[in-house]
C-alpha cells in the first residue's frame, strides 16, 4: 500500500439550461436522417481530463474546482461537473502522461 500522490479527473462542461446550444440543435436536426425518433434535448459540451499532484483528494479537488470555474468553463453560460477517474501512487506512477492504467 502506498499513499496516492496524484489524482486523475475529468471536468465535464455543458451549456447552462436555457442557453441556446446551436451545436446540440444541429445534432438533433440530423436525427431524422438516421431514422431516429424520440431523442431530444441534446446538449453538446466538452470534457477536459487532467492529473493533479496533491497530498489528498480533497486538496486536489479544490484546485480542480478553481480551474473548472475560472478557466475550463465560463460560469455565465456553462456549468461543470467534476469526476474522479483514478488515483496514482508514487510507487506506481507511470512515467508517461499520468493516465492511470
Amino acid at each position: 500500500m502506498s499513499t496516492a500522490t496524484a489524482f486523475r479527473y475529468a471536468v465535464n462542461v455543458t451549456p447552462k439550461n436555457g442557453i441556446l446550444d446551436p451545436q446540440g440543435r444541429a445534432v438533433e436536426g440530423s436525427l431524422p436522417h438516421l431514422g431516429v425518433t424520440g431523442v431530444s434535448a441534446i446538449r453538446v459540451g466538452r470534457r477536459v481530463e487532467l492529473t493533479v499532484d496533491a497530498p489528498s483528494e480533497a486538496a486536489a479537488r479544490t484546485l480542480v474546482e478553481r480551474l473548472a470555474g475560472e478557466l475550463l468553463s465560463n460560469p455565465l453560460i456553462e456549468t461543470f461537473a467534476i469526476e474522479l477517474l483514478g488515483e496514482l501512487s508514487a510507487a506506481t506512477s507511470p512515467a508517461g502522461d499520468g493516465v492511470p492504467a
Partner: protein
C-alpha cells in the same frame, strides 16, 4: 501625438488593420507583445481581431490570463480607454471587463460580409466622433459573435446605457433575431457592442478598423476609431475632460 497600444497575441490577425486605422485617425500606434506586462506608457489600448491562442477552449479565455492582459485590466481599472474589436471583444468579456458572453453564431456558420450597425448613443468615449445616429456599414468576420447575457443582465445593461451598438437594417431599423440577415450571428436584442459601467471599456464584433478609408469601400468605422483616439488624447492631456454619465442619456 496620442499613443495607442495594439495588443499582439499569437493568432491576432487584424493588428495591422488596427495600426493602419489608428494612423488614419491621427494617433501613433504602439504594438504591445502579449508576453510583456509593460504597456509602454500608451494613452489607450485596442485589442484587435483574430484568433488569440487559436481560440482554444473558448474564444478569448487563454488570452485573458496572459501577462499583457493583467496590465490591460489594471489600465482599465485606472480609467484608461480600452476598445476590443471582434476577438478583442471576446477577450474582454472572458476577462470580465465587459458584461455578457459571445456564443457560437446561431447559424453555426462563420460569417464574413458587410453588415450595418448604429450607435445607441453619441455621448460615449467610443462614439463621440461619429457624425450622427445613422447606419454604419462595416464588415463582420467571426464564428462566435452571438451576444448573450441573461434577461435580467440585459435589462440592467440597457437601463444603464451599456448597449453601444446594435445591428440595423440600412433604413436604420433595428435587426431582428437569427432569422434576420441583418443580425449576422443571432445576438440577443441585436446587440453588436457594449460598454462597461464606468464607460471606459468597450467592445464590438464588427470591424470599424477595416472601414476607415473610402478606398476600402466604406469609411463608416472611422468615427469609432477617432472617438477612442480623441478620448485617450483628452485623458492624457487633461484638456476638455468628457464626463460620461452612464444611465443619463
Amino acid at each position: 501625438m496620442v499613443r495607442i497600444g495594439v495588443v499582439l497575441f499569437p493568432g491576432s490577425n487584424r493588428d495591422i488593420d488596427a495600426v493602419n486605422a489608428l494612423r488614419v485617425a491621427g494617433a501613433e500606434p504602439v504594438v504591445l507583445w502579449h508576453e510583456s506586462a509593460d504597456l509602454q506608457g500608451v494613452d489607450g489600448i485596442v485589442l484587435p481581431g483574430g484568433f488569440a491562442y487559436g481560440d482554444y477552449l473558448r474564444a478569448g479565455v487563454i488570452a485573458r490570463f496572459s501577462p499583457v492582459m493583467q496590465a490591460v485590466a489594471a489600465f482599465a481599472d485606472g480609467g484608461g480607454h480600452v476598445l476590443g474589436i471582434c476577438n478583442g471583444f471576446q477577450v474582454l468579456t472572458e476577462a470580465r471587463l465587459l458584461p455578457g458572453a459571445l456564443l457560437r453564431n446561431r447559424s453555426l456558420r462563420f460569417v464574413s460580409r458587410e453588415i450595418a450597425i448604429m450607435a445607441e448613443r453619441l455621448d460615449s468615449p467610443f462614439t463621440r466622433a461619429i457624425d450622427a445616429r445613422r447606419p454604419l456599414r462595416m464588415p463582420v468576420a467571426h464564428g462566435e459573435g452571438c451576444y448573450y447575457a441573461d434577461a435580467d443582465a440585459l435589462d440592467t445593461l440597457e437601463a444603464a446605457g451599456g448597449v453601444l451598438f446594435r445591428y440595423v437594417h440600412l433604413d436604420g431599423s433595428v435587426a431582428g433575431g437569427e432569422e434576420d440577415r441583418a443580425n449576422p450571428n443571432g445576438s440577443l436584442r441585436a446587440i453588436a457592442g457594449v460598454t462597461n459601467a464606468a464607460g471606459n471599456v468597450a467592445g464590438l464584433m464588427p470591424h470599424p478598423e477595416t472601414a476607415v478609408e473610402t478606398v476600402l469601400g466604406t469609411d463608416d468605422g472611422l468615427g469609432i476609431v477617432r472617438s477612442l483616439v480623441d478620448s485617450a488624447a483628452e485623458r492624457a492631456h487633461g484638456d476638455r475632460p468628457v464626463v460620461v454619465t452612464i444611465g443619463a442619456r
